[in-house]
Each structure stands twice: as C-alpha cells, then as structure tokens.
Symmetry: C2
Subunit: 140 residues, 2 copies
DNA sequence: GCTAACTTAGTGCGTGCGCACACACTTTCT
DNA sequence: AGAAAGTGTGTGCGCACGCACTAAGTTAGC
C-alpha cells in the first residue's frame, strides 16, 4: 500500500457512496443530499440562519450553487429569506419550522445509511481516526 | 465528535481538495483529473488495456462517462481503441506510449499535490488507518 | 460629504456527469 | 438451426454545478 492509497480510497468511496445515500434519502423523504446538507448547516447556525457567503463556505456546494438551492428550498417552504438589517446587500437564509421538521424526519434515514454503508464497515477506533485525520486536513 | 464526523469529513475534504488537485494537474500538464484517473487504470491493467465495462467499474467515473473520456483521450493520441477478437460487442481502450509518457510526466505533480494538501496534514499512522478503513468500505 | 475601492448576492452560460435508450453481438434453449 | 434472452457500447438528453460578470450596497480615504 503506497502513500496515495488513503487519497485513492477517499475518491472511490465518495464516488461509490454519495449516489447511494442521495437516492436513499430522496426515495424516503424527497430530499436531495444538497438540500439535506444546507438544512443541516442552517439548523446548526446561531439564529438558525446564515448569509449566502457563510453558507457557501460551510456547505459542500459552492456559494453560487447555495444561492440556487436556497431558492428551491424557499419554494418548498423549508427555508425563508430574511433581510439583514445590518447590511442591505446580504440576506439571511433561515430554516422554517417546516424545514426543521423535514430535517428531523429525514435524519434517521441518512444516519442509518451512513452506518450501513460506511461506519459499520470499520472499527470504532478507525472511524475516530478517520474523523480526526480528515478534520486536520480541513483545518490546514 | 459523533459517529458521522468521519463521513462529514470525507465529504468536505473531497469538495475542498478535488478542484485544487484538478487545477494543479491541468495547469502543469493539461490533464484533467478524470483523464489522469483513466490513464492510471489502463496503465495498471494487464496488456495495458480494459473494456469499457471494466474501466467504468474501476475508475471513479461512470461507464458512460468513461466512454466519452476515452473518446477525448483517443483524439489526444493518449489512448487507442482496439477491437476485442473474442467479443465483437466490446472494444478495448489501450494506453499508447504517448499516453504512458504523459502519465509519467504528470505523476510527480499529482503525488506532490496529494502530499502537500492531504497526507502531510496527518501522521503516517493515520494515513495508513484511513487507507485500510476506506479499503474495507469498498470491499463490502 | 463625495468618491473610489471593496464586498455581497444573484444570474447567464458553458461543462461534466449519469440515466435510459437503441443497437450490435453473443449465449442459451428448444 | 432459429428464436429468445442476455450482455456490452455508444449516445441523446436533461440535470447539477461552478465561473465570471453585473448590480446593489458598504467602507475607507481625503
């Protein structure tokens, strides 16, 4: 095993699992993975809201993509746009109660999928090491 | 740290690093990451050739996408299509000497990028654990 | 206070991607 | 041998995504 094995594994696991988890989530709750990710970030944020810039930085997708996802979520009633009183340029995306309910409903499916396809295939110690190692990569 | 941290880290590291490595590779050698991946698989295969089905299964991209990447690589002279004498439906994609040379030239850039952005941010032991854990995920 | 430089969000546009279909060939069954 | 089922490729099509540009608003400098 050479020193690129970790990176190669990451690429392949991502390619293999993302479509599976996305489809499971979409089949069970009509939520694409990007919607779930955005709702999750908004729900975790203070005041349950973020500007587009913050959202684009935290979420997996780009800022411009985030803007369009928020459009879709707004149409679905899961998110609402709120003017930022302190800065006329930016507007917050805030998760609605319907959005929180939808997120709570979908979470078990997603978590179960992660467990079934990912975490259960390794030991708990390995999972912790993977998490800390990848965390360090992001901090750099 | 909950038990989804490893998966969340994988998603974010993928989103953060793939564009960087792709652009480094493309700037230095005009090779998109998908080209590199396909060339790598072909080069490692017996007879340095694979059918589209095999390629789609091994590479990160889908079979249909592989077919088009092979088109592009053929136009660039890095791969050639070879008829399969044993099965008239399938055709092999075989890496050319020009393709091997291009791959060898690009490899140091890619490996250096992986080292700089990924492996160097963790200990050697962590890298090994990440590799074995992700390997097990793929086998399942 | 007025202007210039900067920041933030939205959008047109091109591109990469996989699904699903059609076609060609192979294998199996009678 | 002929028909039917199965398998491997290529391709039309639509979707998701990010870049680069524009408009609107804010901050800094004088």
């Amino acid at each position: 095993m050479d020193n690129t094995a970790a990176w190669a594994g990451l690429l392949r696991v991502h390619a293999a699992l993302v479509p599976v988890l996305d489809q499971e989530l979409q089949a069970a709750h009509g939520l694409p993975l990007t919607w779930y990710d955005v709702l999750l970030e908004l729900n975790a944020a203070p005041e349950r809201q973020l500007t587009m810039g913050e959202l684009g930085a935290k979420a997996v997708v780009s800022r411009s993509r985030s803007s369009r996802v928020v459009d879709e979520l707004t149409r679905a009633g899961l998110v609402e746009r709120v003017a930022n009183p302190a800065d006329g340029r930016s507007a917050f995306a805030r998760i609605t109660t319907a959005g929180r309910a939808r997120l709570r409903a979908a979470a078990p499916t997603y978590l179960a999928g992660i467990e079934a396809h990912f975490t259960s295939r390794m030991t708990a110690a390995e999972a912790r090491t993977v998490a800390t190692a990848l965390e360090k990569v992001l901090k750099g």
